[in-house]
Symmetry: C2
Subunit: 184 residues, 2 copies
């Protein structure tokens, strides 16, 4: 699909998950999209823990995720986006591993949508519990996670339809300013 | 262009800028791609300051950018990605406006590449000086900036060719782990 089209069709679709398996080749394609994202000074601080073991998915979701996100356990793949802040550039108190993780995550979300798969980026989980279950070292931060799934509706467009129709975004006038802050 | 294709063709191309103008419609298409990016709890903290005034571009680049990035003054458009941290979700000491800015920036970079335009995300500038020149309030952080330009070589693929050939990225084995940290 055309990139601009995918950018506009990408939606957060945790309500559209199904347990149907996804091939390792497809998951690898999505990780490879994240791999080529830019990062501060090309430091590439972002790491990915891909959970496909059904028992492990159930455990980490039950132990570390909020009730509202419990349905994520229905996905065949759960990807955690991590980084060690010591690999990050820091400028004026801002640690850029979070920015770099965002660049990589967006590539993953778009690659998945391009392949007809649904995702849902989330950061609201118990990081310490997830870290322990997945054996992630203390110094590594888990920035975000996303389930990866075939759409329960069969087709991506069908799955995303309702969510996109109800999408709420600020207008460009509210967020884009020309030549000065709040400039028109 | 197919989204996966654009993801792999996107490169940081500050060496390929030209002063040729870009229409407001095209810049708006790129901002609109950033606008639909996801954000924590849909808070949408990201803001954009789009500098098209030639004198202002020259001033901000001369005053706030490092010598190595001085050539950015050759672009017709310079976009600053900003956020007020008080609009951000915070979890375990991590302020997600940086992550959200990364999600939005990647959409911009990909939209631009899809339209045949070159970009180069950068964070190494004097934020206080840029903030003053652009009238950005003290409490707003400037996370990153990118020039936006037609490729000096005429065609995007021609501009990106050398850079992509010299691309250095860690292998998937180094960054993607299965079912546990550093799991194979």
């Amino acid at each position: 699909m055309e990139a601009l089209n995918v950018i506009h069709k990408r939606a957060s679709l945790k309500a559209c998950l199904t347990e149907k398996g996804i091939s390792t080749e497809t998951v690898t394609q999505i990780l490879d999209a994240a791999r080529v994202a830019p990062s501060g000074r090309n430091n590439q601080p972002t790491r990915f823990v891909i959970v496909t073991d059904k028992t492990l998915i159930n455990t980490v979701v039950k132990e570390a995720f909020a009730e509202a996100n419990a349905l994520v356990a229905g996905a065949p793949v759960l990807i955690f986006v991590c980084a060690n802040p010591k690999d990050s550039i820091v400028r004026d108190g801002q640690s850029y591993y979070l920015f770099d993780a965002g660049l990589a995550m967006e590539n993953m979300l778009l690659a998945a949508a391009d392949l007809g798969l649904v995702t849902h980026p989330m950061s609201g989980f118990d990081e310490a519990k997830a870290r322990k279950i997945l054996g992630i070292p203390e110094e590594v931060r888990i920035v975000a996670a996303t389930p990866l799934s075939c759409p329960a509706q069969g087709a991506y467009d069908e799955a995303a339809k309702e969510r996109l129709a109800g999408r709420t975004r600020k207008s460009l006038e509210e967020i884009a300013f020309w030549n000065s802050w709040e400039g028109k």
